[in-house]
Symmetry: C2
Subunit: 237 residues, 2 copies
DNA sequence: TTAAAAAGCTGACACATATCAGCTTTTTCA
DNA sequence: TGAAAAAGCTGATATGTGTCAGCTTTTTAA
């Protein structure tokens, strides 16, 4: 959790090219480099808690972070999984409110913290950047509308199938037999992603395996039959 | 659906004071007034369909509009109810994508359509306005995260109780016995708001009535016991 | 005014999913 | 290395909610 010696300059950061910072001028990038804080995080560490005040934004250089809300029954609803190039906490910062969700490390991560003022300065100086940020947030809103609709109108089986497809899109690497979802998630985390109970995920996953839609390789899931999962994820499919 | 003679100038529009346009300079407002289109809509009319391209934004002067997604089972998930001063369709416009949801009139409405170029011009000229828009979108994202978590982790009874409380906050008018939710929604629409089946809403509402939490006055709902509903809407409350 | 359509309501029923409990396996860390 | 903790798994059970069907009441519009 302490600042590392091997900080990466934004100008040279490879992950930046996948991020909203792609296209920002070197001058602005230097300003950020001078003010940011590079920190290595281990799996399980907490980035921020729901309800606390954002002092800046986080930018992922490497690793995976889960963003989640804790429901009143104690269960975690995972809002999204963030990876290299993704920003964290900027919606709460720009919304001028406390963090609406918490964030913890799922896979060891290197993350830069950019203080509020530096971020806001670039945002106000670089109109094109502000526009890209606005666009990204609007797209996220569309995604959330979709998620809400799925949550209320689809069955758990459908949502789990859909979640597996999405995971394989993002983290899938091709192998000889199907596509491996190259990220380690506990059954509880998958449940948090889908919005259901852990036991239900366990049961449905072993059902999917029995039906030869998926297979397990260690803690990782292999998607054997994308079309089958797609059929399942649709209504009455 | 045709342009009306009695168009209102933005500078003089009372609803504007509750909107994101509050604070925009008269010069910009005039520019919008010159380019906008004022249209009266009757209950049931459609403003836009999910999947079509936004050509501008809608600004509500009067009336109520429901924004919803149609799920693959044909049911409507209502994302939000919009009223005077609210913008519609701007997230899709700014996200440079098709409408992520549809919108229809719930109560007779007067709505201005502001063409894409006019809106974007004000957005780029007036930085403070852009900031307010960004802030509003970020706040909406936080709300959607909350809704998603509620949808997956709370029971229908809890969500209905919560929905009634929210409706009474927004549309409530005080009477001698409790607060009247002064908006006519069908049971089906309440179901769409909660994310459940119409029959379930009917059953739960009559249960709430039996428990003297609410009462009916014509097609409108009277909230008799806010605290009782609040207790119900919490987990195991 | 009246027929048709929409909305509201109720009962019966099925079942997907949450919960609880107990167990095994894997992982963690002292 | 070995004990404790976490994760994974399975079975039994309860129940909330969706679905279907049929009916009444209200609203709409011809």
């Amino acid at each position: 959790m302490k600042s590392q010696p091997k900080s990466i300059a934004c100008e040279l950061c490879v992950s930046r090219k996948f991020s909203l910072f792609a296209g920002v001028s070197d001058q602005h990038l230097c300003h950020i480099t001078d003010n940011k804080n590079f920190i290595s995080h281990k799996k399980g560490q907490i980035l921020f808690y729901e309800g606390t005040k954002p002092m800046g934004i986080f930018c992922i250089n490497e690793g995976i972070v889960k963003v989640f809300k804790t429901a009143s029954n104690g269960k975690e609803q995972i809002i999204r999984l963030a990876q290299k190039g993704d920003f964290l906490g900027y919606t709460s910062l720009l919304g001028e409110e406390s963090y609406s969700s918490s964030a913890t490390i799922v896979e060891d991560a290197k993350i830069c913290f950019i203080p509020r003022e530096s971020f806001l300065k670039v945002l106000s100086d670089d109109t094109a950047f502000h526009q890209r940020v606005t666009k990204a947030i609007c797209n996220d809103l569309g995604i959330m509308e979709e998620k809400l609709t799925d949550a209320t109108q689809k069955s758990i089986r459908e949502r789990l199938a859909f979640t597996l497809l999405k995971l394989s899109e993002t983290y899938g690497i091709d192998g000889q037999e199907g596509q491996k979802i190259d990220i380690v998630l506990t059954r509880e985390e998958i449940a948090g992603l889908v919005g259901t109970a852990t036991e239900t995920v366990i049961r449905l996953l072993s059902e999917f395996k029995k039906d030869e839609l998926i297979d397990f390789e260690g803690k990782k899931i292999i998607v054997l039959d994308k079309k089958g999962l797609a059929r399942l994820s649709d209504f009455y499919g």
